[in-house]
Symmetry: C2
Subunit: 343 residues, 2 copies
């Protein structure tokens, strides 16, 4: 006896194969009466859907991609772990891809969407500035989690975002250092061409100085060297060595990541100087190391647990039709520890 195929069922019902597939897979986008007719026909003819193909499709569709810029930052290791736990709890699988700093995250995402059948995407870290036209090609919901983004680049209804306000948090730390009596504050910033969270935090630094009537001294703005991994301990170390060698006067360093703050401290120790006696050093992110370093590090703590959990929750709400896209700002917390002092 010839085996009944899905095409036979489609012919019997006078519908397309894709409609039969939608009926079998409980797809929401099908008329209930049509679905009933198809399922009755299937039962009558004893058609057994091709299980392997169906499973493949189902499990592939139950996959969330996480695209990460800056994996070596321990801040993201924490976020990834939380996101993975949440995705697993929902019985979905997770594909992770690291995006190099010279790669376009949407191109990487489009490639992944082509390869895998994804349900949604979470972008983690970096900066987002893409045309709506390009983003529409993704066809699936995506969430920007701790990603800086251009306020006017994309239509708000087409994506969700969850992050701190990087400009405001950069302002918060600089304002704090100034109130501690510092006026010569060096900043360890991103690369000169950066248009990302690094730039936003730097803008906050500049605005705080101006608000306190302090001139922005461009020679105290240090940019990451191109040849060194960005936001690494090594980059903080190299920038601080160069700054000290330059003979510029300063009393505090604001590093745009905790890892760079650690590199800055090491450079200061090597000169036989002390933190915070000779120089105050502050970081950004609030990684675990801040409470274990010697001295403990003053920093802006990002609420990584909340942001990561909420990112997954929102994505699943959108997938289930329970929510539209949303934009949430989480406040950072200034953690005063041993590495900064009042002048």
């Amino acid at each position: 006896m010839e085996e009944i195929t899905i095409k036979d069922i489609a012919r019997f019902c006078n519908v397309g194969v894709s409609t039969v597939s939608r009926a079998i897979n409980n797809h929401p986008d099908i008329n209930p009466e049509t679905k009933k007719m198809i399922m009755d026909t299937i039962r009558r003819h004893g058609y057994i859907p091709n299980n392997s193909a169906r499973n493949l499709k189902r499990t592939d569709g139950k996959c969330i991609a996480v695209l990460v810029k800056g994996i070596t930052n321990p801040f993201f290791a924490d976020a990834i772990q939380i996101i993975e736990d949440e995705i697993k709890r929902k019985k979905y699988s997770m594909v992770i891809r690291h995006v190099e700093s010279n790669e376009d995250e949407v191109d990487v995402a489009l490639e992944l969407v082509k390869e895998k059948r994804l349900a949604g995407i979470i972008f983690l870290g970096g900066y987002f500035s893409h045309s709506d036209e390009k983003l529409r090609k993704l066809h699936i919901p995506f969430i920007l989690s701790t990603v800086g983004c251009a306020p006017d680049g994309m239509h708000h209804d087409n994506y969700s975002s969850l992050s701190v306000d990087d400009e405001k948090e950069g302002y918060r730390m600089t304002d704090y250092l100034i109130r501690q009596g510092h006026t010569r504050i060096a900043i360890l910033a991103a690369r000169p061409n950066d248009a990302s969270i690094g730039k936003m935090r730097l803008n906050g630094y500049k605005r705080a100085l101006k608000d306190h009537g302090i001139r922005v001294d461009e020679t105290l703005i240090c940019h990451m060297p191109e040849e060194i991994k960005s936001y690494s301990m090594e980059s903080g170390y190299v920038m601080t060595r160069k700054l000290m060698d330059s003979g510029k006067e300063f009393t505090a360093i604001f590093a745009l990541s905790d890892t760079m703050a650690v590199g800055a401290c090491r450079a200061i120790f090597e000169e036989g100087k002390n933190v915070p006696r000779d120089y105050s050093v502050a970081g950004f992110d609030g990684i675990e190391l801040c409470s274990y370093y010697n001295p403990t590090l003053t920093t802006i703590r990002q609420p990584v647990q909340d942001i990561a959990e909420e990112s997954v929750k929102l994505l699943f709400d959108i997938l289930a039709g329970r929510s539209g896209h949303q934009h949430k700002i989480f406040p950072g917390v200034l953690l005063e520890q041993e590495s900064t002092r009042k002048l």
Copy 2:
């Protein structure tokens, strides 16, 4: 006109559908004459293989899974990055899954193999002790990278392994501390029931003490508390606090990871003591932080770059039939830095 299907082609050729599929997909496991006959038939009838299904299958087969135990250890973040870069260079995609300490990595792997069509698996970290019977179910080649494993549990021809000799490296550090004049050496070890790399490093510690005629004092062997993340800074901190509170005399601490060594230092600082003046502290792994912490940390550096690169290279050699399974031991390097001193 009815569209020609793969089943029609199979019927015309008097072969199974899977044989037609093998012909279309250039599978090696097909008689060349049969393949020619099938391809001729396909051309004659103008059959167009279902591209989406074919692409799905192809790309799914070009995927390597990396299963990681202990993602929060920065040691693995480095290894993952190197492995991912190498896999991308080979134009394969990578699926990453973290294995919880209470999960069975082979069960997780079997689940992934069922979901995705994987070409191979790299297990990263943890400890391996499974029956050959269970491992045979994986059906695809796998590599144990920086994984401890039971020497007699599995047949050597069925898997590859690349790692340091954890027992030997545990011996190396303990022997070094003894030669520096320390005889009361506390060790921050894994959980009491651990049968993993933690146990092997601990065995090296015990053997070194015995070789130097020093009695093993069980009260100086600290085990990770169950309720705290293993190998974390916090676990090192908690164990060291407890040790100091106990009033036990010791002059050195050997922590089985650099992260735990950092936690140990913090606990010592909080007692108003100094490292290395009051206590010498040594770690294990050789993460970047060792050269940036204050003081810089004496440690055993694992050659993570070499191990990760070789792991991927070997897997692709095996997939291409260029190599059988291999077992490679990489020597660790003792990095003498500021956190230890001669008594």
